[in-house]
């Protein structure tokens, strides 16, 4: 339709032709993410956790003290530097939940879906934007923690350099793990549609379920535990493969699978139910 009038709504000559595109939706989600203060704060907080906790853990290291206070991944410079990743995963995941469920708790989702009535591009864009942002931010923080922590460990027996075997893979593995947890948070938030509910599920699955799994009979626990998101993640950034963890590649596949299944559930609910 073309109409040629000048009027109150600011319409001049012929109307331009607009179109909803995937790129447009991506740019919209990008802009939405950065225009909220909570994004900056939570992301900054997650980075601070990785860097501060990692550096402190390294600084507190004294040769031979390993035993009782030892970090979960083992007494390497890398394991110490990544001590903060567990906690940061919670922060990154919570922000992911906020990114998606926040739209429902505030009513924003109705504006969003009125602009993109095909709906699914919104979910893909949110997950992608936040997954990429989360991975980038986390990778920077992890590299920072490794460098800073490395300074304090320079002359000790466990010192490691970036060039050492498996180190780059583990560092980027930690970054990707955190990015995927963020994406998983987005999926959970979109699936549950409630901030509190989404955070509860996320925290439960990341922190509580791994503990509960140990209550299961050993034969069962051994088959389930390695596939839990937090353990699959540990496998991605562990320097040495331990017997109760998957290989780094398998860990990545397990985590991606978990994110994909949750996203599929969220997509089903988004496409099928009223907003």
């Amino acid at each position: 339709m073309t109409t040629a009038t000048t009027d109150t709504a600011g319409r001049t000559s012929a109307r331009p032709t607009y179109k909803v595109t995937l790129l447009g939706v991506l740019r919209s989600e990008w802009s939405k993410f950065w225009s909220l203060r909570s994004s900056w704060i939570t992301l900054g907080l997650a980075q601070a956790m990785v860097i501060v906790i990692g550096t402190l853990a390294c600084a507190a290291y004294s040769p031979g003290s390993g035993g009782e206070n030892g970090p979960p991944i083992g007494d390497s410079a890398l394991g110490l530097a990544l001590t903060g990743v567990t906690l940061a995963a919670l922060a990154v995941g919570v922000l992911g939940v906020l990114v998606a469920a926040g739209e429902y708790s505030t009513g924003m989702i109705r504006s969003t879906l009125a602009a993109v009535p095909k709906r699914l591009p919104v979910l893909w864009s949110k997950a992608l934007v936040y997954g990429v942002v989360g991975t980038a931010a986390a990778t920077i923080a992890v590299l920072g923690a490794f460098q800073l922590g490395g300074l304090t460990l320079m002359d000790t027996d466990i010192a490691l350099g970036f060039g050492d075997d498996g180190v780059p893979r583990a560092l980027f593995g930690a970054g990707v793990y955190l990015g995927l947890v963020g994406m998983w948070g987005v999926a959970l938030g979109a699936l549950v549609r409630s901030t509190a509910g989404g955070i509860a599920v996320l925290a439960g699955l990341l922190l509580i379920v791994p503990g509960l799994a140990s209550l299961l009979p050993d034969s069962l626990a051994d088959n389930i535990t390695p596939y839990l998101p937090s353990n699959a993640g540990s496998a991605m950034y562990a320097l040495e493969q331990s017997s109760d963890l998957l290989s780094p590649g398998a860990g990545l596949v397990a985590l991606v699978g978990c994110v994909a299944v949750t996203l599929a559930g969220a997509a089903y609910r988004l496409a099928r139910t009223d907003a």
Binding site: T5, G10, R15, L36, M108, R110, A275
Partner: protein
């Protein structure tokens, strides 16, 4: 053009919208009326695809809303004023919506100015008053420069200045030949700007008519005449469109003649008239009568003096 056909929406065993069919014609202002809980908002949500109809269809410009390449350009809508993240600024909110369609930044600035939000454009929406939230919602509705504008209770909670602003905006949009659909539960407010009325109650169609016809029917243009000799006066009041009804022994309700004409006729024939009252207040009453059996939350009847009803 919005077309709604046999639209039905059930939530469990509760039917919110029940076989509704109507059309919102281009270049007109259509008032969509009904008491609270009549199904107005649900109908509007189904028109833009937020809710899925249980059965029936709703189309905008001949297609389902979601099928349009640029839905915001087709129809701009305001459903709830605060469908906005409170942590975002008005500008950031509009920009995020504009980006999905590739609407340029210039247009965002235009609608901010149009809605009078320049001063608060970069403030967080959480601190907005109801009126400013409503203005932001209307700015968002106009973002895509749409042919059709659909607003749910646009003047709800606005101060008199805001009400006037909305009213002027809507009439100028209609003057430009755009299609406007607005819902309200206030008949008198709607009659001021609408051309057409769609009145629903309990999700069902009650009245689909023009404002003119509705006012006519409600006797809004009539004059109440109290006289000592109604039998003598009655045959004298003749004319092409003149109708006379009597309510009580001494009262006539005349439409088609104004008080001045009736007064002079009575004087010519020496008939004593002691009241000549133009009927003005009956719109709201007529509306309530239409929907009285359909009020979702009926209050206990209050006996008042307003029991007179033009038959």
């Amino acid at each position: 053009m919005i077309e709604v056909q046999e639209l039905t929406k059930r939530y469990g065993d509760k039917t919110a919208v029940d076989g509704l069919s109507f059309a919102v014609k281009p270049g007109q202002v259509t008032g969509f009326l009904g008491p609270n809980g009549a199904g107005k908002s649900t109908t509007m949500r189904m028109i833009i695809g937020l809710d899925r109809p249980t059965s029936g269809t709703a189309t905008v410009g001949g297609k389902r809303y979601a099928r349009h390449a640029a839905p915001l350009q087709e129809i701009g809508s305001l459903l709830e004023a605060k469908a906005v993240h409170p942590g975002r600024s008005a500008f950031a909110h509009l920009k995020a919506l504009a980006l999905t369609h590739g609407i340029p930044r210039r247009r965002v600035d235009e609608v901010i100015e149009l809605a009078g939000l320049q001063k608060v454009a970069h403030k967080r929406v959480g601190g907005f008053s109801l009126g400013m939230g409503q203005r932001l919602g209307i700015a968002a509705a106009l973002l895509g420069d749409p042919e059709i504008v659909m607003l749910d209770e646009p003047v709800n909670g606005l101060d008199p200045e805001g009400v006037l602003w909305v009213r002027n905006l809507l009439s100028s949009l209609a003057d430009e030949g755009r299609t406007v659909m607005l819902s309200s539960h206030l008949m008198s407010e709607t009659a001021l700007i609408a051309d057409h009325l769609v009145i629903i109650g309990r999700g069902r169609m009650r009245v689909d008519t023009t404002v003119e016809a509705f006012i006519e029917q409600a006797g809004g243009r009539g004059v109440k005449v109290s006289t000592a000799e109604p039998e003598r006066l009655r045959p004298l009041l003749t004319g092409a469109d003149v109708t006379v009804t009597s309510t009580t022994a001494e009262e006539l309700v005349v439409s088609g003649l104004d008080s001045r004409q009736i007064g002079s006729i009575a004087l010519q024939h020496g008939i004593l008239v002691y009241e000549l009252t133009p009927q003005t207040v009956s719109l709201e009453e007529a509306f309530m009568e239409i929907t009285s059996d359909a009020v979702e939350y009926q209050s206990a009847p209050v006996e008042t003096a307003t029991q007179r009803k033009a038959a």
